[in-house]
Amino acid sequence: MRVDTQLADGVRAEDVDRWVPTAAVLHSNGDGMDIAVKNGRIVGVRGRAGDRVNHGRLDVKDRYGWQANAAPDRLTTPLVRDGGSLVETSWDEAMSRIVSRSRTLLDEQGPGAIGFYTSGQLFCEEYYTLAAIARGGIGTNHLDGNTRLCTATAAAALKATFGCDGQPGSYTDVDHADVIALFGHNVAETQSVLWMRMLDRLAGDDPPALLCVDPRETPVARVATVHLAPVPGTNLALVNALLHEIIINGWVDRGYVDRHTVGYAALADAVADCTPEWAAGICRVPAARIREAAALLGRARRLLCTVLQGFYQSHQATAASVAVNNIVLLRGMLGKPGCGVLQMNGQPTAENTRECGADGDLTGFRNWANDAHVAELARLWNVDPMRIPHYAPPTHAMQMFRYAETGTLRMLWVSATNPAVSLPELARIRSILAQDRLFLVVQDCFRIETAELADVVLPAAMWGEKTGVFTNADRTVHLSEKAVDPPGQARSDLDIFCDYARRMDFRDRDGAPFPPWHDAASAYRAWQRASAGRLCDYSGLSWERLRDGGVQWGGERLYTDGGFFAHPDECETYGRDLVTGAPSDASEYRAMNPDGKAMLKPAPYLPPHETPSPEFPFALITGRTIHHFHTRTKTARAPELDAAAPRVWVEVSEVDAEAHGLAEGDLAAITTPRGTVRARVRIGGIRDGVLFLPFHYGYWDADGAAHDRAANELTITEWDPASKQPLFKTAAAALGRAP
């Protein structure tokens, strides 16, 4: 077996003092790995041969990314803003300022003045603690993660179809499927070890057929049996045509549909006119190719569908992702080896953000609109149910920033994320974060772009410097153990949150300190109790058990017996209108799905809101590259990764490059109504009329002071109404030579 190992120059395997078990944190695949420690320092990594996810292999980011832990510019001391600049201070002073401002705001305005914007990169114990503090301690509805940008639509689509979040499929389905359909999922760059698993199948006996839906000629597209490259913003039209074909050709598993689903008649009616010719006119994909794709899906014996950002960050995100779930249900391809759907995640611990209720839901996949669920959570925390906000859906990130913009949200605590680079329309985001009336707390390992705008900066420990649990996109839970001490005065995010709770003196109903836990082990045991009986039940997954390696919660596959977690009394949500985003209520849900079956949900295609025009003739999409993660905070501090992709580039088709007089390597200017970015031209690999920019590049290591490098200077402030995920793949842009 191949075990990928990378050690610092001059270090041999036999020199290593200890190998400390963990998993990958630079993507969502959850590859099991060990950290090599020598003399109290991280000196390398190796894949874990016995891990169910990666069998010893490593993504290139994990081979080199560990070097960031020892980067010389780690934050090691708290900082506070004094006289306009950030100065070093003590933990006591930094925390006192936060507590003092919190108390003032609670007195003046109430909990709605305070919001928390967290991450997809902390650990389970940290999210659960933050959720308890925000919802049970302060009682604010304003808590969300940057998971809103990467995985909110996965959660929304799963909830819409199955009544509850939770990944139905398993990575092992790749080993068994005879057709793998990837919808907006460039797995070769986002989860390279999973891609290796697919390549193994393609190179072996009885290879599966691949369907790729992507406007770019990705590595997946190049080996696909059928590649469909729709115009950005038209995914739903395409999938509705696939559904149309599956129905009219009789490829529906009527037995499965009748036994296990509701909504077939409405779906069949809604796609009755969605012929391949109709979709071809919208998506600019030949109708014959749509028929070929539908035949692959319709004739598959073991069909695995996967979905990622090409759908999640595009127009009609949730409706299009739900439409993929509809394919899976119509074909009865669920809960059996090789049959399933993987609504993917973008970040390593995004699953935990969702499970713990640090994003748009309550802890343990509980339903904010179900009073019994709120009462259960209140009993668990021993607080008054009135303390836990449940008068409206938990506030999503983009709405929190809008509240900050209007001045009604006056303290924002950002942990382990970098909104000054990762949110859309950055000029607007910078102006919101820079307001004097907003008290901004930034908790991070580095002095990121967002920290430069902060009032208080808290130095946090990284992966490898603390112990905790996290869960990947196929529900595999890993325990990540502390390998080394954090630098300087940096503290774990959990310690910081617990310190805040103690200083704020939150109390439960009996006057005892809340939350009652104080470290990662006690926080995890509390989480096990909070999740018991829910779909994401961790009660049997003790740290001791996880020390033997990654384990999936819920077993290898969910819904193996056609039973779902969708009964009106247990579902996580009563659903939303996929066009308007308006929540449904309990009585509507009960009437529609009284027995808790899977739900087939149609939606009509609507044109995108910003379409190419004579002034802005291109469709601009942003995305990822294999060498970097998020805003390069860690990956650019690994010399090998930085050297592999040091500068922002723009991908342009050959035809478009020639029409604009651009050659490979030329400096181009890409302009939208919101700004201009300058990037080097890479020709090819994309359909005509579409531009691609990687979103990773910010300003901390840029030359000069201009804001002309981050792709999000250009993106639009718009989000999917159902999942509230911002649209990074639907903007109109102009292309020219940079002056």
Binding site: N141, Q399, T406, G407, T408, A582, W719
Partner: protein, 140 residues
Amino acid sequence: MTLDRVRHELHRAEGVLAQRFRQLSERHRAEAEVHHVARDLARWSDEHVAALGEPARSVPVPPWLSDDPDPGFALLTDLRRLHQSCAAVSLDWELLAQGAQAARNAELLDLASRCHPHTLRQLTWTNAMLTELSPQILTS
């Protein structure tokens, strides 16, 4: 006959509703979700105007948007007024359906049963936006 008057009134009211959704969208551009979704919802009213089978007319819409200097309060006021407009249109579809049934006018009944669900979704949306936005605006 009186049923025609209901149909005629619906034609007028749907035309007005489409304009109001667009006016709401324009006035509250900074509220991204309101701005974008309201334009999609205007399309449904456009479709209803066309389905009602009379030539589209540009009906003058009396000023209705709030001029309150507090943008939050103005937003709530405008959504509340628009919700009431949707409710009135919804009732008219109800009346049209009732009259169509009594008159055994299958064509008109079919029209009402195709269009009315959209109006109910417009109504649910305005209600949902008020529900979600009001707690913050009313406590700050």
